[in-house]
Assembly symmetry: C2
Homo-oligomer: 339 residues x 2
């Protein structure tokens, strides 16, 4: 089953989307918003699945689904916690600045609490006040959970996964060192993120296995392929482990979004991966590009995002059909009028 939230109001309007992401049918009779459906999932899920079946069989009224009319599936959420499950990526970044990564990073997930009060829509521009902030994209996979009790095991956590999405976790790289030095984690360095137009139940994802989403995460910058790493490869912590980590000392409420962190695959020689142009799978963020450039050339060569740059994040099935729709965002100057 595929769900989306059409723009409108603070929480959008819940619709069921066809498997080919071409059509939608209104679901507001079942639940007006995705959050209300998640709040009462046991009642809503079978009704939504029935509606999805009707849509596939032409038995429900349908309209064309336009990705630019979609908000993020949860336009605002009660929780957004982002892990760093591709430890390879963390190790590379540390290596580039000459720092050792603690061995515990392979067993104890890194996770930060992100802002969730207003996400960008998947085709909305990224408003940037100052290019000197070092704006970066981060291609990720994310899941939406139901209620998770405190102390849940990995297995219990896996059963709480309701929907899967893609994410562009926008980061302001040049604000990060100062914030992390203060010791309280990210804040200003993590502006609003965006999620894919469509959220998909795990059972409708052929690539879903063992709490991971297998498949190429296609990341483009200005129409050029930046990365096509497999999200199911080198993911040290699966989503069950990430959710259980988040729930260790408190319950998670329905509608919690848990992110994978930037998708990253190792190179064949266990060293840094190569660009797509050199036969590698490339990168899902510019920081990793710059890290590899630093390791290879002694200094970064790629700039962070500037006004007019356009990023695209998508995943396709075996027939090259889109699974989640595409996140496609242009970086624009922020003005008070543009809000």
């Amino acid at each position: 089953m595929k769900l989306a939230s059409l723009k409108g109001g603070r929480d959008g309007r819940l619709v069921v989307v066809s498997n080919d992401v071409a059509w939608f049918t209104d679901a507001s009779q079942i639940a007006p918003t995705l959050q209300t459906a998640l709040d009462d999932w046991d009642r809503c899920e079978p009704l939504l699945r029935g509606l999805a079946d009707s849509l596939e069989h032409g038995a429900a009224p349908r309209e064309r689904f336009h990705e630019h009319e979609a908000a993020s599936p949860l336009p605002r959420a009660y929780q957004w916690a982002d892990g760093s499950a591709y430890v390879n990526h963390v190790q590379l970044v540390r290596k580039a600045r000459g720092a050792e990564m603690p061995e515990t990073f392979w067993t104890d997930p890194l996770m930060y609490q992100g802002g969730s009060d207003s996400f960008l829509a998947p085709r909305d521009p990224i408003p940037l006040a100052d290019p000197a902030f070092g704006c970066d994209l981060e291609g990720e996979v994310a899941v939406i959970t139901g209620d998770v009790h405190m102390g849940a095991s990995r297995e219990e956590a896996l059963t709480a996964i309701r929907l899967v999405m893609l994410c562009n976790d926008v980061s302001l790289r040049n604000l990060i060192p100062g914030e992390l030095a203060k010791g309280f984690g990210f804040f200003q360095s993590k502006p609003a993120s965006a999620f894919s137009p469509v959220a998909v139940t795990p059972d409708a994802l052929p690539g879903w296995a063992d709490g991971k989403l297998h498949g190429k995460l296609e990341v483009e910058l200005n129409g050029q392929v930046l990365g096509e790493a497999d999200a199911g490869v080198d993911m040290t912590f699966d989503f069950g482990t990430l959710i259980a980590h988040a729930a260790k000392t408190r319950a998670l409420a329905a509608g919690t979004i848990i992110g994978s962190g930037t998708v990253s695959n190792r190179g064949n020689d266990e060293g840094p991966g190569k660009p797509v142009s050199e036969g590698g799978v490339g990168y899902s963020c510019l920081a990793e590009v710059r890290t590899v450039e630093t390791l290879v050339h002694g200094a970064p060569r790629t700039e962070f995002l500037n006004f007019g740059d356009c990023v695209r994040i998508e995943m396709k099935d075996a027939r090259r059909h889109t699974i989640f729709g595409a996140i496609e965002q242009e970086v624009v100057p922020y003005t008070r009028e543009s809000r």
Copy 2:
């Protein structure tokens, strides 16, 4: 005007509370929940104020307000960002571990993104899985904002403050060093917080001035006074400054909660403050007690919270009447059944 959310459902039921916190009248005809009122504040505020006037004048149906029937004013919120505005407190903690505090801490606010998906009710127990986590209370002041645009000034931010509350920001002190060493800030070390039974508009607070709440924050542990620091004293960053800090790179949506951090006053000699029993104003968290003990005696003498310990946080007006109602929470062993 005073507002509260009676327990019921995930978001409670909005009621208007009398100025003496003794009575309430149902407000669900205006807005079913506090979040829906905040989402449409321009429409709801005058209606709620009219209802509050009717309640004061005996012209509205009223029922007894029982604090233990109240949830936190926002039982779940889209954002909870907690500052460390009492820099004195930060400096003390650093001093106790022999570390220098950077000078920039006096000009650049510390703030972390907290979990907001499910807060404890003000009279709910604090479920603790393991006393070895080092459970601590933190007495704070917090505000709820309306919509704040990216890049808002301090003055613009001040006009966005809708309501003021007290907060117990529960912390697991012994999990903090390990988490901060990982560099991504707090996560497991910050379980669910609780807020006062009643949220109050700034105009109804005689102690509200210049973005600060003046008045003694009374903190008790097991019926003994732990602290009575003035929340308006030694607050280096007022709420306007904290909100503007949070909004530097992204908009804040209505219903955002911004916290002051642990209230803390300097001693008369600019050194660490004294306990109430020695004529000082005491402390709003046990970590500060232990810090001062370390500075004075070489080692902490006070233990963190254990099962059965009861904390109480309240602020009273000049006539010793409660302003926000009291947060009163007992620490209990967490079991899956207790959730």
